[in-house]
Structures are given as C-alpha cells and as structure tokens.
Symmetry: C2
Subunit: 397 residues, 2 copies
C-alpha cells in the first residue's frame, strides 16, 4: 500500500527542535478524524499510519500486542523500515497531524506489576511512615521489592481521574468512608513486555532486551489515606487500583541505546540471579508539572535496581510473562528536594505544603492537572522525548 | 444444530449418587478426542457439547468470557435450556465421557484479586507470625483485606506445579536463593465476574448477583519462606505468583441458591458501603486431600466477609471489573484443627508436623499431590459438587 493513493505524497516536516525525530519513533494506537484505531509511529508532530504504510496485519489493530509478540528481530525490521520511510515522500493519507487524532491505551495489558526501585523514594517514605526506625526495611537492598497492581484500570494519558472514595481511619481512631483527602501522584517509568516466556522458566538479567519492547511514562495515582489504613499485611490495594495512567506513546528500547548509564553501586552485591554481564540504568530525566508549574525533576539515572533486574526478579520463581505485560519502576525520586516524584515527598507528608499557582497545596485538589514528561539522550546526539502522561482530577462521584 | 446428527440420540445416564445432576450443571471448556476447545456443561460423568447443542457462537470458544459478558438474563436462559435438554434424548455426538476430554483454563482472566476473609485463618497466621501481639491487625474487622495476584499464572486444575525458587533469609541472617523449603497450599473459593462495570462507579453489595457469574475452587500455592522475606511493605509477590490453580468447572450462582446461609455476626458493624439488604454466606464444605489422605475439611460457611462485600470493597474506589475477572476468598479455615485450609496452619508453622501416608510432613515434598473438592446443598434436596482442583508437585528446575 506504499506510495500513490489519495492526495499525492510529501516528506514529513519535522520542527527543528523536535524531540521526535527519526531516531525516536515511538509507537502508539490512534484513530484519525475518520476511521478506526490502528498502529502509528510519531515523527515530529505527525502520526504515521503504519497500517497504510506497511503491509502487515499487526498494524491493523487497536493495540500493539501483535507487534509486541513478534519479537526483537521483527521489532528491529519494522523500526529500520519506518526510519527509511521517514526519509522519503510518504502518501499524504498516511500522515496525520498529532492534534487531529485520538489516542487510546496502546497495550492490552496482561499483568501490571509496580516496583519500588528508587532508594531515595523508599528512604523518604520510610522516614515519613516509620520515623523511629531505620528507613529502609531489611529486604530492600537484597531484592527489588514489588507487587501486582490492577491491570484493568490502567488508562491512557489524559483520561480524567475521578477522585476515589475509600475507607480510612480518622484522627479520632474511628473509620469513615469518603473522597480521599490525600490524592497523590507517583512519577514512574513503565516497561512493556514484548516476547512472552514459559511458565517455570525464569528470564535472566541478560535476556532483558529479548523480552522487553520499550518504555512508557506512568503516573500511579495514589490515595495516601486509603493506602495507609488498608495496606497491612497484604500491601497497597484500593489506594492504588482506582486509576493508573500510561503515556500514549511507547518508546522502543533501541531508541534509548545512548541513554544507557552504569547502575549505582549496589551494596551488598546482589545474589547471582540478579547479576548480568552488561546491566545498566537509563539516563532519563522526568519533569513533573502541577497546573503547568514545574514542581520536580526526578532523575531515572539514580534508580537503584535496573529494569533487567526487576524482570529477572519478577520471573525468578518461574512466573511467566506475556506480550503486553507492564511493569513500572515505582516512584522516581532523587536526593534533592526538587527531585521527588510524589507529592507526599515534596510536601513531606503534608507538613511542608507546596505553593502552586499562588495556592498552598500538599495533595491534589479537584480541577488540578498533572503532566509528566521526560527526555533522554538520543542516538543522533540530541535529546529525544518520551511522550507525556497527563491527567485532570475530577470530583468524587 | 440440535437433534439428528451422527450416531442417533440418547438420554444422558446419570449415576444415582452423582453430585452433578441437572440441578448443578457447571460450565467448562473442553476438547473432545478429535476437535478443538469449546464450551461444555457437566451432567453426571458426561460433558455436554454446548457448541453442538445450542445455536450461539458464544459456545464456539476456548473460554467462557463471551458467555460471562452476556449478563444474568442470558445466563438464566442458557441454564434453563440446558436443563430442558438434560431431560431429553440428545445427539450422541454432543455427549462426551468426562474421562475422554481435555479440559483447559475456563476463563481468560483479567485481574485476579485474593482476599483474606476467614477470621480463623487470619487469626492463626497472626499468632504464627506475630506471637506477641493481637493476632488480628486493626483494619481486619473493618474491611475485607485483599491484594492483587498474578492473573497470567493461573492454571487449570491438574496442571503440574513446579516448585518455585526464590530468595529467602536463612537462619543465620544471610540471604540465599534456591528451591522453596516451605511450599504450601491455600484452599479457597474463587468468584468469577461476568458482567463488567464502569470505571468510577462502584458495584454495591446488592448488585452482586448482577455481576458475579459463578464459583470455582482455587488452590493458591504459596512458598512461605519466599513470602516471609519479601512481603514488607508491599505484600506477597513471588511467594504466590508462580502458580495458582483453578478448577476446570465453574458452578453458576443459581446452582447455589439453597446453599445461602446467614453471615457470622460482624462486629463492629460494617460501614454502609459494605452492607446490603439480602447479603449472605455460602454453606460449602471443602475437603483437602494430601496424597489421597484427607487432612482438612474447611467450612466456607464460617467466612467472615461475604462474596458480595468483597466485590463491593474491591470496587468502592471506582475500580472497574471486567468479564473474566477472578477474586478469591483467601484461605478457608474453621476454628477446629482439622478445618485449616493451609499446611502452615495444619502443622502450626512446621512445629507440629502432620503424618501423611506414614510420612512426617510440614510442607509439600516433590511428588506430592493435593486435591481439593467441595460440596454444597443443591436445589434438588441433595448435595451438589463444585468440581475439584488438583496438582502434583514437580521438582524445582
């Protein structure tokens, strides 16, 4: 279906300062003004219709799962082909302005796991919740702590977030039920599994790039009052499960080849099943905007556990992964106050409220908007963008 | 497609003492000796091929999800029609001996949640893990404590279970990685969601029967050594996620109409969102066999939180459910020693090993088999069976 067609052909115009040049090319699922959902790639401010450009039914779909399942050889072929096409004149009907398309959740998510891989975040939360004890629990430096979240309530960026109701313990020690009073964000990176694995067979650290397709931005909205009352002994549940937002665009790992950085020193040395020959972190800088005001710059390069270690741990017991599984890093926080990826940290448990747009805030108010963006070193010597994940808070129903 | 066909017609012969008479009729997904998977109903020791008997594409499928999504009116129509058919001569090609078919996981599971709804189990585990404190944590009587498990590793009954490896803390305080030394079971009931709900809109206690299709038996295999080291502060993860077994047959709620029993008194009274006008428990008796020896009779009627309360709590924050979601009760234990639904309780943390087949055991050995069955009062004045969930332990790989 390449070439020809309605309206002739042209090269895609890419703004000079674009974070979405041909070295980036994230994938998403879009619908043009007229027509159903299909797979696209972002180039500048244009969405390329891969269903129209490439002769493969995996793109005539409303999710990336068929592409994910093809595996790394095909991922690379597709990426190479789209980069070639990006240098040529393309049929006009296969190009859509970004502002004119609707985006949907790009993945049919199987299981969703959330980790807790930032030592600064884990330390901050330990200090806030258990002020009289060692902030890191004894297991934290030995394994990537994680838990399963709710896959069915992961939504695409810009889906409004209804303030959750829930049960909490009041200051008087009674319980009540009502709209959360401490609605928070968690700025995270999400890793999208492509190739599945077999039940009973772990995925090693060195097999990471055989199984993980790419990266999205995640906001794991959290109701701290609900979470605090429910989470013993089985972990977070309704304080998290109401909504998790994922960026519309998924950046392939190959676009992040030049963003690899050494991991921080891990002490004690991890057990062998958490070690690989070429493990690395990612130099991705996030920006958190609260009502258009920048409030934090969480640095992914500081994360203690690597994405490959998280996957190796997740599967160490033989648990299998499926194409479309999503695992997230947990809140990304750095050591500086303006590097904290959650409001409970930024406001230090509400005791040091933040001024946002002239208003004093500790947690989210109805009508607030949060937008998380990120950049990383690209392979063309300039930064690339990782899309964005945004949301507007609606009042409880 | 009813009537006629190859080989004439006959009535299904039902053994006199069968727990699977026409008042039961659980659903499953089966493949005959020649042919692909489709939906069937169990009658006596015969599987009725619903794809052959009923003219509806929802039965020409390898999962029950399309049937689940149709909702309670259609569920009842199908059940009534199959009961009518069970009284008539049926085409022989639509009848298959149970022993001659292969069964598969009956549901494409969306999210899997596990609760902790037995007060005897929660009390026992509190005494074992926190001997110096009040066994029930402060939140336990206020809300049904639960967490998300791994949906992608739920397998159908009789799938062998590979002993998981994992990281644990040794007696000396070091960590190591290896095959679990305390592999356990959890005998549970699982509730299968039929009709989905809308994100942001809770399902009330009184809407339970509009959303829940039926019941299966669950064995939530647990590696206690892995679990004990990993679970603070985010809850169980790899100690559970390696395998969860579900019965091949799902019993519709309508078959359990005469199994309804009053709930135990709940003190303090639950908050209004956990109260309904007609809430109830279920009088289902489980039997746990360890290498063919009966070791426990967990009584579901003793469960503190009702299935409807669990669903109302799960969705109270606006979290949506989808057709095929599964939530389980948590380990079912009664107050008597022989009513405990896990081996950590039966052996009291390994301190009171159990004699099984002449051998002393606290936890599962390679080659062990566990089989859980259950019965309930049926609507014809005799008990009905809830199928079974079994598994054989294979050595770690």
């Amino acid at each position: 279906m390449t070439g020809g067609g309605r309206g002739g052909a042209s090269r895609v115009a890419i703004p000079e300062d674009s974070l979405f040049g041909p070295e980036n090319l994230p994938y998403g699922v879009f619908a043009p003004a007229a027509g159903g959902y299909r797979v696209g790639a972002r180039l500048g401010d244009t969405v390329l219709d891969l269903a129209a450009l490439l002769d493969d039914p995996i793109f005539f779909r409303a999710d990336l799962n068929a592409l994910l399942a093809t595996g790394p050889t095909r991922w690379r072929e597709v990426r190479d082909r789209v980069r070639e096409l990006a240098e040529t004149a393309l049929p006009v009907h296969a190009q859509h302005p970004l502002h004119a398309v609707r985006m949907k959740l790009p993945i049919r998510i199987g299981d969703y796991v959330d980790f807790y891989a930032s030592i600064d975040h884990a330390t901050n939360l330990g200090r806030l919740f258990r002020p009289d004890t060692e902030p890191l629990l004894p297991n934290w430096r030995h394994l990537p702590v994680g838990y399963h979240g709710r896959a069915g309530t992961v939504v695409v960026s810009d889906t409004p977030v209804v303030r959750p109701k829930g049960q909490r313990r009041t200051d008087s020690g009674a319980t009540d039920f009502g709209p959360s009073r401490s609605l928070d964000i968690e700025a995270e990176l999400g890793f999208v599994v492509g190739t599945g694995s077999v039940l009973g067979v772990p995925v090693t650290v060195d097999e990471f790039t055989e199984h993980v397709f790419g990266v999205g931005l995640v906001n794991d909205w959290s109701a701290r009052d609900i979470q605090a009352w429910e989470y013993q002994p089985l972990g977070p549940f309704l304080g998290k499960s109401f909504t998790t937002s994922l960026s519309a665009w998924i950046t392939p790992l190959d676009a992040l080849a030049d963003a690899r950085v050494p991991l921080p020193t891990q002490t004690p040395a991890p057990l062998p099943y958490l070690r690989g020959s070429d493990d690395h972190g990612l130099d991705i800088d996030l920006t958190v905007r609260w009502n258009d005001e920048v409030v934090a710059h969480p640095p992914y390069a500081r994360m203690y556990w690597s994405p490959a270690q998280m996957l190796a741990h997740l599967t160490a017991n033989g648990a299998s992964v499926r194409p479309g599984d999503l695992y997230a890093s947990g809140t990304i926080s750095g050591p500086a106050p303006d590097q904290r990826g959650s409001f409970i940290e930024l406001s230090w448990g509400g005791t040091q409220p933040v001024t946002v747009g002239g208003e004093i805030r500790a947690f989210l108010a109805d009508g607030d908007r949060v937008r998380i963006t990120a950049t990383a070193p690209g392979t063309a010597g300039r930064p690339i963008g990782l899309g964005e994940v945004g949301g507007l808070i609606l009042p409880a129903r």
